[in-house]
């Protein structure tokens, strides 16, 4: 299997250790990734869509054309990139007049979008039955002792009429990947709450949402070893704000936040020293102890 690898901005430029974890996982699972020449920002769905929908769609379509020219489907590793590229492809497939307008812009730089390329997030691929079987066979360090909480985030699953990815109110795709690695996942009330990163104008919105989720997870009887996210914005939002809130309120909030590819890499045999698990505000010391004893 070969994909045009759409890296985006935040992961490769700010959190390259997440990219490293994903590349390790892809290599173990024999997913081939081809670098994309000349792509830029997806572009970022919240601000760009807000400023000008046409700019957002035209820049997104330009990225899609680059994959079309490679003759490959796109693999994304960020929920923002996934939302933008998938939404652009759905909008342009459903509205031929709009496609004509966008191609009118793209043609001036010798691009033409035809809609041949499919857009994937790696969760979408790895949660398919044949991939789950493959993952189960390749696990060398089963996560039997771990209780993990999943954070789906908003842009991976909604709006479901566009994303067509998972159930918008009862998603399960990340849970089943973690179960294939041997871990148990916990059910909790605030599972589907937004991380608040994209509510940019009021800092307190994000802080209150993070406090609510982390407090609930810390109080769960089964004991949560880590929160697992698939989006760089959610991952850093929970990690950084959890620490700030713990300091401000005196609450003992100490649940580490891991990106899905990191926990997959651990189970698939990547050495802990080859990952950068300490590269975050809340250090996963307890988790590392559990994994090494």
């Amino acid at each position: 299997m070969e994909y045009a690898f759409f890296l985006g901005c935040t992961i490769p430029l700010k959190l390259p250790f997440l990219e490293k974890a994903f590349r390790d996982v892809a290599s173990i699972l024999d997913v081939k990734l081809k670098e994309m020449e000349g792509v830029g920002c997806c572009p970022e769905p919240v601000a760009m869509q807000s400023l000008n929908i046409d700019t957002w769609v035209a820049l997104g379509a330009r990225n899609l054309v680059i994959a079309e020219r490679m003759g490959l489907d796109i693999m994304t590793i960020c929920s923002g990139c996934y939302e933008t590229l998938k939404t652009v492809s759905v909008l342009l497939a459903e509205d031929k007049e709009y496609l004509k307008k966008i191609n009118g812009i793209l043609n001036k730089i010798n691009y033409n979008y035809t809609g041949k390329t499919k857009v994937y997030h790696f969760v979408e691929l790895f949660s398919q039955p044949e991939w789950l079987d493959k993952i189960k066979k390749l696990v060398v360090k089963p996560l039997d002792d771990l209780n993990l909480a999943v954070h789906y985030g908003c842009h991976l699953i909604r709006p479901s009429k566009i994303m067509k990815f998972d159930h918008p109110e009862r998603p399960e795709k990340i849970d089943i990947i973690l179960e294939a690695l041997g871990a148990k996942t916990v059910e909790y009330a605030t599972k589907l709450e937004c991380c608040g990163y994209c509510a940019r104008l009021q800092e307190e919105i994000g802080e209150n949402l993070v406090e609510e989720k982390m407090t609930e997870l810390c109080e769960l009887e089964e004991g949560v070893d880590a929160l697992i996210a698939v989006c760089p914005a959610c991952t850093t939002q929970y990690d950084r704000k959890e620490k700030i809130i713990a300091r401000r309120t005196g609450k003992e909030l100490d649940i580490p936040v891991l990106y899905l590819a990191e926990i997959m890499a651990i189970a698939l045999g990547v050495e802990l020293e080859d990952l950068s698990l300490n590269n975050r505000s809340v250090k996963p010391n307890k988790l590392i102890n559990k994994l090494t004893t």
Binding site: C41, V46, L51, C154, I205
Partner: protein
């Protein structure tokens, strides 16, 4: 609490509903039955001056100025729960993006948002990647054994930004 607003029927901008609903994807505005499901599931409902169902009601009434200068339209995190749950399939989060586009045309735009297009215009990425910052990022990636970043085709990205009408905004922001 929001202040009581008194306005004469003649002062309402009655075509506002059609200005929105003629846009692709926003026809659904006219189907709203004011049930309030959007507002009850809204991530930011307690932080806004107008809750989602009241934004829609205001659009339908023609309160253009009030809607476009409300904090509600820029506070939303675009979590899409409103759109997901609406029993009449009103695509509120898309309508909200359109309202933001309209506010931008009137120059009402928070800097937390305008900064993104300036960064993309200058870097191709929404993260600064020039000069010393670029060198640091490149060194870090090499240390980790990751491939070099393939440079974005900046002139194409800049062309699209200008061609779709955001060139003026980029210039204004850079002059500040």
């Amino acid at each position: 609490m929001t202040q009581m607003l008194k306005k004469n029927a003649n002062d309402l901008y009655k075509d506002f509903r059609y200005e929105i609903s003629k846009k692709v994807g926003a026809k659904s505005l006219l189907k709203c039955i004011q049930c309030g499901v959007c507002s009850s599931g809204c991530t930011v409902t307690e932080y806004v001056d107008l809750q989602p169902h009241r934004v829609v009601a205001s659009c339908l009434l023609g309160l253009k100025e009030e809607v476009l200068s409300s904090n509600a339209i820029w506070t939303c995190s675009l979590c899409h729960r409103c759109t997901e749950r609406c029993p009449k399939n009103v695509d509120y989060s898309f309508i909200l993006a359109l309202l933001r586009n309209m506010a931008v045309k009137e120059g009402k735009i928070p800097k937390e948002y305008s900064i993104s297009v300036v960064t993309i215009y200058n870097n191709g990425f929404v993260v600064p990647y020039t000069g010393g910052l670029k060198d640091n990022i490149d060194r870090r990636r090499t240390r980790m054994g990751l491939p070099q970043i393939v440079p974005p085709k900046l002139e194409e990205i800049q062309f699209i930004i200008k061609e779709t009408g955001l060139g003026g905004l980029v210039e204004e922001e850079e002059e500040k």
